[in-house]
């Protein structure tokens, strides 16, 4: 994060890229995510994982383009769309052509939009957008573009996988859907309704509601409604304090069934749930930590934990993104963005977390194995928050969403 | 001819407390009228009623024959009544010159204008400079008003009050807290700037009152017990009885 030279002033004064030419074979990736402010926790962990993945999976194994290194250059966007666009400009000025971002679909939307405009206006300075976390389905549907690649499964695919597992459990008669009132929360709710009504004819949706994001002081009233409805399963896309607040309120109201979530782990959440959340909190996601799929994966995680004892592998997909990007760069034989993007399209990759990752060409959505994991302290090899609790994979959907529809109409540079 | 100010059965209650209990008062044009009375008699309240700071509980107030009861202070001000305050009430963070200029703006027809530059209005500047000389603060023109001496602030207070050219001037204890020589200078200033205008003042200094006033009203417990020339008031047994007679005697001494 800290730099000995002031990037900004160099950029301001020279007016040209000073860094781009330094070592031709090195490839810089601009990591634009919150490194200060309320979401800095997620951002700094993501940065550490990117750096670790780049070192472990690429740089120590011969690097890219015959010995070049992948270098992750952090930019603090303070989770603001405006700041992200400024930092994007700074990164481009430094000659960086690959942007990695993940936190907040709002920022991702702003970035993908800005990058598309930039590439149109500056055909000589194309920029590639590696989206490693933002899961708003629109990014690979209506708002898709050639420069954007998503390495996480989008909200629709995850819900598809989740309901595939849920439909096997006949005891889930009443499902309650609750989420934050914004694009992602609405996307989760819409996907849940669509999938449940299609796959689970004997299940009724007893509640489907949105609450303001980050404004609810006490989730107890919501929990009361969930209890009063005789709910068998709760589905929520909540994250951060909204997740903890909702989860704790529901559990304290006496709820014993499963709470299916997207983001109920790490950055203090696992530790806060602790014993209360055992066998209640379930999470749909990619990247299997427990049980470890291979020695390679186990070593990768232990190596990371040794380096960052207070951090966890919060976003396993970063390893996929780094490896696939390196492959793409090598295949392109240079840093021509169009070539790298073309190489990434349709790329097949054997993930360190097991299974295959396919970068679907028609919408640039990574197709990978999706797991339903449970919050527990049994059989946990790698816990979160050093709390002895972690996520254990209960079931897996292979290549989830391989044939999922997309409304993406991509225009490729001719 | 209509009176400058006419009060008919004016009443004011604060909660259950009756502060002004039916005041009738007529002040003629160009008259210099003083209101005296013991502390807590309601002098300032009466002032605040006439100038619109407080709403009336009952009665009528007429300014130049026009009912002004219930109007806001700025509306009354626009009808030609201007007042000063007992506690110095100036624009402390602005210069002396600007204080006076603010006092001039409405009367010179600028209203809420945001299309004229004040600095380029030579008439406005001239008038403000004249006022500055009138109140003898010419050498303090660009001083921030908050750092003036007390006497200077009181003079500025008078300056702002008369700036608008109102023909009814109400002064609330203009010489309070001043030394003897300062008081003398203030009296002279008051005479000078209220030439030909109606003057209403509340004052404690009997010397000043008998020096300046044409007529005096004595307010005791929210009622006017006497309203006449200084000589009559001074001789009034009623006043002596109700009011602190001693202070009147002091003034004689």
């Amino acid at each position: 994060m800290r730099k000995t030279t002031s990037i900004l002033f160099a950029g301001l004064i020279a007016g040209v890229s000073v860094f781009g030419a330094a070592q031709a074979q090195d490839v810089k990736i601009a990591f634009i995510d919150p490194l200060s402010g309320p979401f800095a926790g997620t951002g700094t962990q993501g940065l550490a994982e990117w750096r670790y993945a780049a070192d472990q999976l690429v740089n120590s194994k011969g690097g890219v383009l015959g010995g070049g290194k992948l270098e992750i250059v952090p930019f603090d966007n303070k989770i603001s769309a405006k700041e992200s666009l400024i930092q994007l400009q700074v990164a481009i000025d430094q000659g960086i052509r690959i942007i990695a971002q993940g936190n907040s679909s709002g920022v991702a939307n702003a970035l993908t939009d800005a990058i598309e405009k930039h590439n149109k206006r500056n055909p000589d300075k194309h920029v590639l957008f590696i989206n490693y976390s933002a899961v708003d389905p629109a990014l690979t549907n209506d708002k898709c573009n050639f420069w954007h690649f998503r390495f996480d499964a989008n909200a629709d695919i995850k819900m598809d996988a989740l309901t595939d597992v849920m439909m096997k459990d006949a005891s889930l008669k009443k499902v309650y859907i609750i989420g934050q009132d914004y694009s992602f929360g609405k996307a989760v709710a819409a996907a849940a309704v669509a999938n449940i009504s299609k796959k689970m004819p004997n299940t009724t949706i007893v509640g489907n509601e949105l609450h303001p994001i980050g404004k609810v002081k006490d989730f107890t009233p919501y929990a009361r409604k969930i209890m009063a409805a005789g709910t068998d399963a709760v589905i929520t896309g909540n994250w951060g304090t909204d997740m903890v607040g909702l989860g704790k309120a529901v559990i304290q109201a006496g709820y014993k069934g499963p709470i299916y979530t997207y983001y109920a782990a790490t950055t203090g959440i696992t530790k806060t749930f602790g014993a209360e959340g055992k066998d209640v909190i379930r999470l749909v996601g990619e990247g299997q930590l427990n049980p470890p799929v291979s020695k390679r994966a186990a070593d990768y995680v232990s190596g990371y934990k040794a380096k960052h004892p207070d951090f966890d592998i919060t976003q396993p997909r970063i390893a996929n993104a780094v490896e696939m990007l390196a492959k793409g760069i090598n295949k392109a034989g240079g840093t021509d963005i169009v070539k790298i993007a073309t190489a990434l399209e349709g790329m097949q990759h054997a993930s360190i977390w097991g299974g295959n990752v396919t970068m679907r060409a028609k919408d640039h959505q990574a197709i990978q194995d999706i797991h339903i994991e449970v919050h527990t302290n049994d059989k946990i090899t790698f816990d979160f928050d050093n709390s002895s609790y972690g996520l254990y994979v209960e079931s897996t959907i292979k290549d989830a969403g391989m044939n999922s529809p997309t409304s993406c109409k991509m225009t490729r540079p001719s | 001819m209509t009176a400058a100010i006419e009060l008919m059965d004016v009443r004011k209650n604060f909660g259950l407390a009756e502060i002004i209990r039916g005041v009738d008062l007529r002040i003629e044009r160009a008259e210099r009228h003083a209101i005296i009375g013991p502390n807590g008699a309601g002098k300032s309240t009466l002032f605040n009623l006439i100038t619109g700071k407080y709403g009336l509980t009952g009665g009528t107030i007429k300014l130049h024959g026009e009912d002004v009861g219930g109007l806001k202070p700025f509306e009354i001000s626009r009808r030609g009544l201007s007042r000063s305050f007992q506690i110095t009430n100036i624009f402390a963070n602005m210069t002396v010159f600007e204080n006076l200029r603010c006092g001039l703006l409405w009367s010179m027809g600028y209203k809420y204008s945001f299309w004229t530059l004040v600095d380029r209005q030579s008439r406005l500047t001239e008038r403000a400079e004249e006022l500055l000389e009138q109140i003898n603060l010419g050498d303090r023109r660009d001083t921030i008003a908050g750092v003036l001496t007390y006497a200077e602030q009181r003079a500025l207070e008078i300056g702002i009050t008369i700036a608008g050219g109102a023909d009814v001037i109400m002064l609330d204890e203009p010489t309070a807290g001043m030394s003897h020589s300062e008081t003398a200078a203030m009296v002279q200033l008051i005479r000078k700037v209220t030439e030909g205008k109606t003057l209403v003042m509340v004052e404690h200094d009997m010397g000043v009152i008998f020096d300046v006033a044409d007529r005096i009203s004595v307010l005791v417990y929210g009622e006017i017990i006497e309203s006449d020339t200084p000589e009559v008031v001074r001789a009034s047994a009623k006043v002596k009885e109700a009011y602190l007679g001693s202070s009147l005697d002091e003034a004689d001494a």
């Binding site: 979401f39 509601e209 002081k217 006490d218 304290q252 006496g254 203090g268 530790k271 | -």
Partner: protein
């Protein structure tokens, strides 16, 4: 019906928690004329101190120590910060407390990091005391009710039965004359500020485990507390209590009942547009009560300020 009863109880807990914050804030505001923007930050400090103390000696000592620490901190800030700014006027005072709120949040993040703290209810109280219609009511919440009611009684006693209470009461009613009371006014100010912030700290200690201990907790609750004292009215402990409960129940019931705007609009005679997905009022038609629940207090405050600026039970205008 069962849901109504349990919602009343939940709203009571929320309202009483708000009261613990607003009682201190309203005392400070009415006496010193300064709206302490950082009041909820002291609440947050209380929660973090409580958490830290609970790591070493458990929850119960923290219940005493943390508020005392917060109160001392508050008194020091009054003495060396606020008093210095006081002479510049009320607006700079407000700006000062605003800056203080920013600073405290940053300091908390610096020391404890940005993640949620695993601050839990004490094991003794971690069980369901009773249940209504399948909804369990945790013992801890009953404990919260008792603490808050206890605080209210103590405050009431101090204000109406003790000498210092009478001074404070006088100051509440006649803020301009407080200087003439012959008491050491700066000391009274410092004391009131210290006690007010200590109350906020205590609220933090007991709310931290149930509502979460994280850097955004001050911001989340802060503006609602202002709303409470403005709605309740200045200088009135009863007003603060009334407004706190009102807002507690408002928040709870708004979250509990899915009143759909479409039903309301249909009921008053509008017909839903056919092209709902494209209609320019679609957001209005699809609105539900829980969506707007948390912003209802602000609407209430703006209305109160317009219609009745002195608040529900205030003795004088803000």
């Amino acid at each position: 019906m069962e849901l109504v009863i349990i919602n009343l109880l939940d709203g009571l807990v929320m309202g009483l928690l708000l009261f613990m914050l607003s009682s201190g804030l309203t005392l400070i505001f009415s006496m010193m004329g300064v709206l302490n923007f950082a009041h909820a930050s002291f609440y947050m400090l209380g929660a973090y101190f409580g958490y830290q103390i609970s790591q070493y000696v458990g929850f119960w000592p923290g219940l005493i120590i943390a508020p005392v620490l917060v109160g001392c901190g508050g008194a020091l800030i009054e003495r060396y910060g606020l008093r210095r700014v006081h002479k510049f006027g009320h607006v700079p005072e407000l700006i000062f407390t605003f800056g203080l709120a920013l600073l405290i949040e940053e300091v908390v993040q610096f020391i404890w990091g940005k993640s949620q703290m695993a601050y839990d209810e004490p094991a003794v109280l971690n069980f369901a005391l009773f249940s209504i219609g399948g909804n369990e009511f945790p013992a801890y919440k009953v404990f919260m009710i008792f603490i808050a009611v206890g605080i209210f009684l103590v405050l009431l006693y101090i204000l109406t039965r003790t000498r210092v209470g009478l001074v404070i009461q006088a100051a509440l009613s006649y803020p301009d004359t407080v200087q003439n009371l012959g008491h050491n006014v700066p000391l009274v100010f410092m004391g009131v500020f210290g006690v007010g912030t200590a109350l906020a700290g205590l609220a933090g200690v007991i709310a931290g485990p149930s509502l979460g201990t994280f850097p955004g907790m001050a911001f989340l609750l802060g503006s609602i507390v202002f709303v409470t004292i403005v709605v309740g009215g200045l200088g009135s402990l009863w007003g603060a209590l009334l407004a706190s409960l009102l807002i507690g129940w408002l928040l709870t019931f708004a979250a509990s009942y899915n009143v759909h705007m479409s039903d309301v609009l249909t009921a008053i005679g509008f017909t839903p547009p056919e092209d709902m997905a494209e209609h320019f009022l679609r957001d209005l038609w699809t609105l539900t009560m829980p969506q707007i629940g948390p912003i209802l207090p602000y609407i209430l405050m703006v209305l109160i300020l317009i219609v009745r600026p002195r608040g529900l039970m205030g003795k004088r205008e803000v």
